[in-house]
Amino acid sequence: MRRSMLFIPGNTPNLLMNGDVLGADAIILDLEDAVSPAEKDSARILVRNALKHLNYKGCEIIIRINPVDTDYWQLDLNEVVPLKPNLIMPPKVSCAEDVKIVSNYIAELEEKYGMEKNTVKLIPLIETALGVENAYQIASADERVAAIFLGGEDLTADLRCKRTKEGNEIFYSRSRMVVAARAAGVDVYDTPFTDVDDIDGLYADAAFAKSLGFTGKASISPRHVEGINEVFSPTQAEIDYAHEVMETIRIAKEQGKGVVSLRGKMIDAPIVERARQVIEMEKAMFGEVEDDE
């Protein structure tokens, strides 16, 4: 289940120890912006030890490595890949080639450590104008890519515009990311809402992202996690409807009917697929649920 992903600074023992209790579906252990150049080595070793010794229950682990134009990214991967994080997040990805470089290096490490190929997936962070323009190429660059993620802060700097709460300046980029991700068949995450104290604003921003088609949203504050989860979870009405759809289909199959309708609306393949996704989410949120029968 991928609704929320929460950034955790990579050099902070107390937060690393508690990353999995903050309610996020995924945590991003950050070796990039949250760590000063002088502490890159320290954070890398600390995060590696945390992956080795701590038992992160019930959430995906993502490591944000340093960008490929720095001296750190390979060192980062050397330490963390053998410990099988779910995903690696390379930042400032602007083209398919950036993905390939990281993927190939991960492949080398996977081979070296006798890991199954493609154990470690990728979630490229797209935060440049060029990256947005190349979003589809990035999303479909490699089978390792499981999702793409929009970074609004760096992007607006690159676009030479002001980052606002309303987010009109990233509207095009958001839509483009969603289209690219869906075209490539991967998940897509929205940029964090940066006003930590504005919970109402967070809800509105998350709801807007959901309405555009985002899978989920990243957060820089644990206080935003609950809101993001709530917004990106199916509502009870959606869950009920999904069960109704599946039940109608089941009965129709029994009766050998081809065309089925529910509440006067024809149930076609996309509606069934949507219902299936909602029920998957429900299972992930509440565990296996008893059938309505």
């Binding site: 902070t12 023992p13 107390n14 120890m17 080595d41 320290s42 070793i45 600390l46 590696r48 030890n49 945390a50 080795k52 010794h53 701590l54």
Partner: protein, 88 residues
């Protein structure tokens, strides 16, 4: 690996540990900890564990622990030693 210069790693925040390593002919380990009474042996074992793994036989290792768990202590000691002596 040899400790050829003085280096530090970690912080004095709660749940972290501040490690200082210095060149020394003998091996000297000093431990100060807010949980000394409860975990002195574990802390020392963690430090020695890293020294053994990295083949460090001499040096002055000063630990100022603010209640770090073992994997944090090991990370900070490893970082300090790497900073003090180049590569493994």
């Amino acid at each position: 690996m040899k400790i050829t210069s003085t280096a530090v790693a970690g912080t004095l925040e709660s749940s972290d540990v501040y490690v200082k390593v210095e060149p020394c002919d003998a091996l000297e380990i000093s431990i100060e900890s807010v949980v000394y009474n409860q975990f002195a042996e574990e802390i020392e074992a963690s430090v020695k564990n890293v020294l053994n793994e990295m083949g460090v036989e001499s040096g002055k290792i000063s630990i100022n622990d603010k209640g770090a768990i073992d994997c944090v202590i090991q990370a900070r000691v490893e970082t300090a030693i790497k900073r003090a002596g180049g590569n493994k």
